[in-house]
């Protein structure tokens, strides 16, 4: 092992139907480098460590400061953003670093996967405030700084997919919606206006693949790069969904009652 170079082992696959292969790259090591800056070096000279010409690996990235959620991948098996994976941390003595695409999403190419199911899930839980229009209708409801802060943390979710990647309940045989969307339901239910449509979101979470499918492994909260209290969100939504189911059972048109209460 040398500290002069960074060695990346990249799992390559030209497309979903193509066979996977491993390629190793070795490029000069710079101070402060991260996995993406090294991938940038690789594409400036796409040659493997053994001198073989190859195509530049495909990877997703945009902001490079862990706020857009694009560059999620497995770095030495850990689900995270590649931009903040510092070479100094992963390879203090020149150890090779392994890069693989997320395994729980359809592969597009190399390190790029299709995470559109996460955006579809946001539709399912109706993760928005149904405003009346974009006209000047005055300020929104007053809110305590405490509520604003609690909502802010949940609202920093960048749909990066780490929580789904590490979840044992998320796999090709399961419809489990995953922690991100459940926490978004909580985010909107915690808003005074969003609360008016609370039951729509709770009903969505009662469906197959909803909150009851959580196996309580707790991996999501540890993997979340934004330290969102995902297990707290799941527990709270679980409770709410249970209450909702009880209410639905005993009170006919419980939604209508809620609407009247709110108006």
């Amino acid at each position: 092992m040398s500290k002069e170079n960074v060695v990346l082992r990249v799992k390559r696959q030209d497309g979903p139907q193509s066979p996977a292969r491993w390629e190793e790259f070795s490029v000069p090591r710079h101070a402060g480098a991260n996995v993406l800056s090294v991938l940038m070096q690789v594409r400036e000279n796409p040659v493997t460590a053994s001198g073989q010409k190859t195509t530049p690996p495909a990877w997703d990235a945009a902001c490079l400061e862990e706020v857009c959620g694009s560059c999620s991948m497995l770095v030495n098996g850990r689900a995270r953003q590649a931009c903040t994976a510092l070479i100094e941390t992963y390879s203090p003595n020149g150890e090779p670093i392994t890069l693989e695409p997320f395994s729980k999403f359809p592969l597009v190419r190399d390190l790029v996967v299709d995470r559109s199911r996460m955006f579809e899930s946001l539709k399912k839980v109706r993760a928005w405030i149904p405003i009346d229009g974009t006209y000047d209708l005055g300020p929104g409801p007053r809110m305590s700084q405490k509520t604003a802060e609690e909502r802010y943390v949940m609202s920093t979710c960048m749909t990066c997919g780490c929580c789904l990647e590490v979840c044992p309940q998320v796999n090709t045989h399961s419809p489990f919606i995953g922690a991100a969307a459940i926490s978004q339901a909580r985010l909107f239910n915690a808003h005074p206006t969003g609360q008016l449509n609370e039951s729509e979101r709770l009903h969505a979470l009662m469906e197959p693949g909803g909150v009851a499918d959580c196996g309580k492994a707790g991996n999501c909260v540890q993997a979340c790069p934004k330290e969102i209290p995902l297990t707290t969100s799941i527990a709270e939504m679980n409770r709410e969904v249970t209450w909702k189911a009880v209410k639905d059972f005993f009170v006919r048109d419980s939604d209508d009652h809620e609407k009247k209460d709110a108006s």
Binding site: R109, S116, G140, T156
Partner: protein, 625 residues
């Protein structure tokens, strides 16, 4: 359901707001974005959004916001749109509040506001230290609502290539490429809005996301759209230098009390050796660390390069928050976390090392406006945000309007959302004005097919490029050249030489190697195409810089700068005022770049809203005490 279909290119704040306005009016919208819209560059905005809500008893008002904005940009912006924006700003902030943005609150539960550069008022609403992310998510959620209703179609991982142009020169839709399959298609539309952000990657490393190549704007420019004020590039005073990116350290750090300093070397007039020298506070006792960005950047450059006082001899000064309370640190946590993650030091305990970085383009696609005699923006005019190409609109950082020669902090988010709000109705008004030309129905299929065929051919040619140049390395060279010649200090001899070097880079582009001939997510082929656009845009920026022989806002040419006035206030020095007026008479004009195959053709056009008998605001010397 209406059959009209509109196209919006780009899914940041401006694009999504345009989509919302169109969808809200019952129109169908296609939105194209090279990344899922939720990952657009707007997420990187940290500090906040300006609006003179005046909740702090300071006597702030939209007119003062307008004054700060126009003066901050040294009067290069057209005035009525700026006035429209500042007056709409409080309403826009309330709208975002209603959408559920988790803005910071006061003890009474109202929106909290902080202070930003170039103003003396607390005018900036914020959501933690990731305001841009929070605003983008709010608009993304509203768009998703329309998407679920079937009103909006999202084309994510699709790259804009060019617009469909009919025989009369009008824009009739877009040609775009699916980045996953490399398939190229045409999408007819009643009108098209470009909302593709800035050109940071033309400068190689900047505070911009790596998707901000400016290639889409460049493509419009190459198809005949005018590009305004290309040389007006903002340098943000405080960023962390990095190999891959210069990461922004928000102005809010100074708004919350952060201080900029270097250790003194003990020379005459400075504190004793080793003591902190707070040079911004000393040089600008009123605005202190919150001078406008161009001023701050130049002062840091001066202290480091001219005085040789950079920290440890490096290109760096300290931005110090160590004296602030844990509560204040929490308010800017998101920014401090970025510093800690990339630098491995806790900025709560150790002063940050920062340096100026390319940040924002005030210039962009030229857009029109229409106002009445009282300077009110006419909400239903098809001319708002319209480029010179009929049917082609622009909104957000990609347009040249609103910021003049220098943008104030926290004005970008408001300008994006305001322009998006204006452009939607303008596009509808345009389509309404020409019912006989309804895009989908009336567009001869040969026109759209021709546009598709041209782009398919172009990509076949790119896929066959097998020369010796690595496009990414060539892109890095372009960035180094642009950063060296067109940022903080500009010199004509270097700009002339830079233009020649750009011609060489253009030639070398032709010997690029595509590196990858595949048809699945071929990022290299896409980049080779974008790189050509970056070079063409680079030429407009370089030539605009060369020909504007003055200093104004972010554009700084020491050889042509006005001397220092003899009095404290420049307005008290008649000799200086005469020089200032002479300069304005010659240069207070919009730079217009028109593309030709042999390079940009530059002219300096009068600012229309200043050419009237009584402008909203007469230009005055821009100085900060």
């Amino acid at each position: 359901m209406s059959e009209e279909r509109y196209a919006v290119v780009g899914g940041g704040l401006a694009g999504l707001m345009a989509v919302i306005k169109l969808a809200e009016s019952g129109k169908n919208v296609d939105v194209f974005s090279i990344v899922p819209v939720k990952r657009s560059h707007s997420v990187c905005a940290q500090g906040g959004i300006n609006g003179a809500v005046n909740t702090k008893g300071e006597g702030d008002s939209p007119d003062i916001h307008m004054y700060d904005t126009l003066r901050g940009g040294d009067f290069l912006a057209e005035q009525p749109p700026v006035r429209g924006m500042c007056h709409a700003a409080p309403g826009i902030i309330y709208l975002l509040d209603r959408m559920g943005v988790p803005f910071s609150r006061t003890s009474e539960g109202l929106l909290d506001f902080r202070r930003f550069g170039g103003t003396l008022f607390n005018r900036t609403a914020f959501a933690g230290a990731t305001t841009g992310q929070q605003l983008l998510y709010a608009l993304d959620e509203q768009v998703r609502r329309y998407e679920a209703e079937g009103r909006v179609r999202k084309f994510e991982y699709w790259e804009y290539l060019g617009f469909i142009q009919d025989d009369e020169g009008a824009c009739r839709g877009v040609v775009a490429m699916d980045l996953k399959t490399m398939e190229i298609q045409s999408f007819p539309a009643e009108a098209v809005c470009m909302a593709t952000g800035g050109p940071g990657i033309v400068f190689g490393r900047s505070t911009n996301s790596i998707i901000n190549t400016g290639a889409a704007a460049s493509s419009c420019y190459q198809q005949g759209a005018w590009y305004g004020n290309p040389e007006m590039i903002q340098i943000h005073p405080t960023a962390i230098p990095g190999e891959d990116k210069l990461r922004l350290m928000s102005e809010s750090l100074r708004g919350e009390g952060g201080r900029v300093w270097v250790p003194s070397d003990g020379r005459a007039g400075l504190p004793p050796k080793g003591q902190p020298w707070y040079f911004l506070e000393e040089r600008y006792p009123k605005y202190k660390n919150l001078v406008p960005r161009d001023v701050g950047s130049r002062e840091i450059f001066d202290v480091v390069r001219n005085m040789g006082l950079g920290v440890d001899g490096q290109d760096a000064v300290y931005l110090d928050l160590t004296h602030l309370s844990a509560e204040v640190h929490k308010k800017v946590e998101g920014v401090l976390d970025i510093y800690e993650k990339f630098m491995g030091q806790d900025p709560r305990k150790v002063p940050m090392k920062i340096y100026p970085a390319m940040h924002y383009s005030m210039g962009g696609l030229w857009v029109d406006y229409e106002a009445n005699a009282r300077h009110d923006i006419l909400p239903d005019s098809p001319r708002q945000q319209a480029t010179n190409i009929p049917g082609l609109y622009a909104a957000g950082e990609v347009d040249y309007q609103y910021h003049g020669s220098n943008r104030l902090g926290a004005n970008s988010l408001i300008s994006c959302i305001y322009a998006g709000r204006v452009v939607g109705p303008a596009m509808i008004a345009y389509a309404k004005s020409r019912p006989e030309k309804r895009a989908a129905a009336a567009l001869p299929s040969t026109v759209a097919e021709g546009a598709t065929a041209r782009w398919r051919e172009r990509f076949e040619q790119i896929r066959a490029m097998s020369g010796a140049e690595n496009p990414y390395r060539l892109g890095r060279e372009l960035g180094d050249l642009m950063s060296e010649r067109c940022l903080i200090v500009k010199e004509n001899s270097k700009l002339e030489d830079g233009l020649k070097k750009l011609d060489v880079i253009s030639d070398r582009w032709k010997s690029c190697n595509v590196l990858d001939t595949g048809r699945t997510m071929n990022q290299a082929a896409s980049f080779v195409n974008a790189l050509w656009g970056m070079i063409e845009l680079g030429k407009a920026i370089m030539k605009g810089s060369l020909l504007r022989d003055e200093s104004r806002g972010a554009h700084f040419k020491p050889a042509f700068a006005l001397p220092k006035p003899k009095t404290h206030k420049p307005t008290d020095d008649p000799e200086w005022m005469a020089k200032w007026k002479e300069r304005n008479d010659k240069w207070l004009r919009t730079t217009l770049a028109k593309h030709t195959p042999s390079g940009p053709e530059i002219s300096f056009e009068p600012i229309r809203s200043l050419a009237v008998e009584k402008p909203i605001l007469a230009p005055e010397p821009r100085y900060y005490e």
